[in-house]
């Protein structure tokens, strides 16, 4: 007599899965209670919020010279740090690419990139303010470090994904290493590099308005002192300006990407 054997349900939830869901739910409840989150506290917060909004509008552009000074400095920080950071990342990224470099070059380079990435720009900015003093130089250095940490890694990864056939063919012509990079590697990664670089310019524009908060120059400083003096209508003016700059940067980088497809 044939015994009909049931196959196990392949979609049955495993106990580990159930336990995981319970643990996450329990932690969420615990964390909320621990922080005294409650509806009453939330409603109280809303009241503060509406008071703030009242004072923020209408925006006040009467001190536009101050705003313009900060804005110009922020843009300078963003553009210089992008150009320097991208240029340095080209080399650092190449040295970090494991398919182009022996391990004794790529591994230490990767450590350098990881170091650049390991701190949030605010922390790097504080360190540079302490190291080189208040002002735009600290902001500039901060964003260069941040740029390297971000796009050198992306560059390295793009280089690692290239087709080696083209490299092999150019190597077979007797080309030097530099020529191989210029003619077999660069054409394959160029458009992606443009994309990364535009993204970094975008992000540097944003961050250049932030480093000022810790005293590293730019519009952030203006913003911070306006907050401290409760000039909330001026704060709104600054925030609107930042939004306009970011939108403009977005538009320009889109155009550049279009040109280089």
């Amino acid at each position: 007599m044939a015994v009909v054997k049931d196959y196990p349900n392949p979609f049955e939830r495993s106990p580990a899965n159930t336990i995981g869901v319970i643990v996450i739910a329990a932690y969420l409840i615990y964390a909320a209670i621990d922080m005294d989150l409650s509806l009453a506290r939330f409603l109280e917060g809303l009241g503060h919020g509406s008071a703030l909004l009242d004072r923020m509008f209408p925006p006040n552009f009467t001190r536009w010279e101050l705003l313009l000074d900060g804005l110009i400095e922020s843009m300078q920080i963003a553009i210089i740090s992008s150009v320097v950071g991208i240029f340095m990342s080209l080399f650092i990224g190449l040295f970090a690419a494991r398919n182009m470099m022996p391990a004794w070059v790529s591994s230490p380079t990767r450590v350098i990139i990881a170091l650049c990435r390991s701190f949030h720009p605010v922390i790097i900015a504080i360190l540079f303010v302490k190291a080189v003093g208040f002002g735009a130089l600290a902001g500039l250095l901060t964003l260069i470090v941040a740029s390297i940490g971000f796009i050198a890694k992306l560059f390295a990864e793009a280089i690692e994904e290239i087709s080696f056939k083209q490299v092999e063919a150019i190597r077979a012509t007797g080309a030097s290493f530099t020529s191989i990079v210029l003619f077999a590697v660069l054409p394959q990664v160029f458009s992606r590099f443009i994309g990364f670089s535009m993204y970094q310019l975008d992000s540097n524009l944003r961050n250049s308005t932030m480093v000022g908060i810790v005293g590293a120059g730019g519009l952030g400083g203006t913003l911070f002192s306006a907050f401290q003096r409760f000039d909330y209508d001026f704060v709104t003016a600054i925030l609107l300006t930042i939004i306009a700059i970011i939108l403009l940067g977005e538009f320009l980088s889109g155009k550049v990407r279009e040109i280089f497809q």
């Binding site: 083209q166 092999e168 077979a172 160029f190 458009s191």
Partner: protein, 256 residues
């Protein structure tokens, strides 16, 4: 361009293993001293590609000598290696063009071995190079495609560019790794004709790995049969018999 009349290429006791104890090439001895197509046949995995890549040192052979232009290529490194490598043109099965460069730029990459990276970066080619590139392009029938990107071409057109790139190097020998395997039969014949014409015109040997035995016999001045990392036939194309083919490829059911 200077024609090379020297003793072309000699391979002595060449061995290669990718993994220790698993040899791919076992004691290859070959002399190439006549111009024209030398077809290398043999089953996949028998080391034909490895042999070609050991000649221009894209792969470093485990042991043995490759005598070319009066030096042993296995003993040179760096600049010296590149100086000899530029006289060995290579053609690939999948063409290996730099897809995002234009056709004419791809041809001119054949001159990279002769110029500094700085000059290459600034596209500072000599007028001679540029003239040669356009003449060669016209000869392979792609004059109108010079400014197009390489990835817009068809397979046969790409292989013509690949061959032209190799010839731009002013080679003393051509290496072609299954140049026709990705092409339709008619285009394959045209590509072999082109290789034959160019090898004769430049008076150099062209070592061609090829799977199609009858196509090889039609164009080759000499054939080399490989099996299991050894050379098992070396002689005129009409000397290849069914027995040889059985020995090279194994079995006989595929022979009709």
């Amino acid at each position: 361009m200077a024609e090379s009349q020297q003793n072309y290429l000699q391979i002595r006791n060449l061995n290669h293993e990718y993994e220790a104890g698993k040899p791919i090439l076992r004691g290859i001895d070959l002399n190439f001293d006549q111009p024209g197509i030398i077809a290398i046949i043999g089953p996949s995995g028998t080391g034909k590609s490895t042999l070609l890549r050991c000649i221009n040192r894209l792969i470093n052979p485990t042991s043995g000598e490759v005598l070319f232009d009066n030096v042993d290529l296995t003993s040179v490194e760096g600049k010296e290696l590149r100086r000899h490598r530029r006289h060995i043109g290579m053609v690939f099965q999948e063409y290996n063009l730099v897809e995002r460069l234009t056709v004419i730029e791809n041809l001119l990459t054949g001159r990279l071995g002769y110029m500094s990276a700085w000059n290459a970066w600034r596209r500072n080619y000599t007028q001679d190079d540029i003239n040669n590139a356009f003449e060669l392009l016209e000869m392979v029938g792609l004059k109108d495609f010079a400014k197009q990107r390489a990835d817009s071409l068809s397979g046969g057109q790409r292989q013509r560019v690949g061959i032209a790139r190799a010839v731009m190097q002013d080679p003393y020998v051509l290496l072609a790794d299954e140049p026709t395997s990705s092409l339709d039969p008619k285009t394959a014949v045209e590509i072999m004709e082109l290789m034959d014409t160019l090898a004769r015109r430049k008076n150099i040997p062209a070592l061609v790995n090829i799977h199609d035995v009858s196509l090889a016999q039609r164009f080759a001045v000499r054939m080399v049969g490989m099996s299991g990392g050894h050379v098992v036939y070396d002689g005129p194309p009409e000397g290849i018999t069914e027995d040889h083919l059985k020995q090279i490829y194994g079995g006989e059911s595929w022979l009709s």
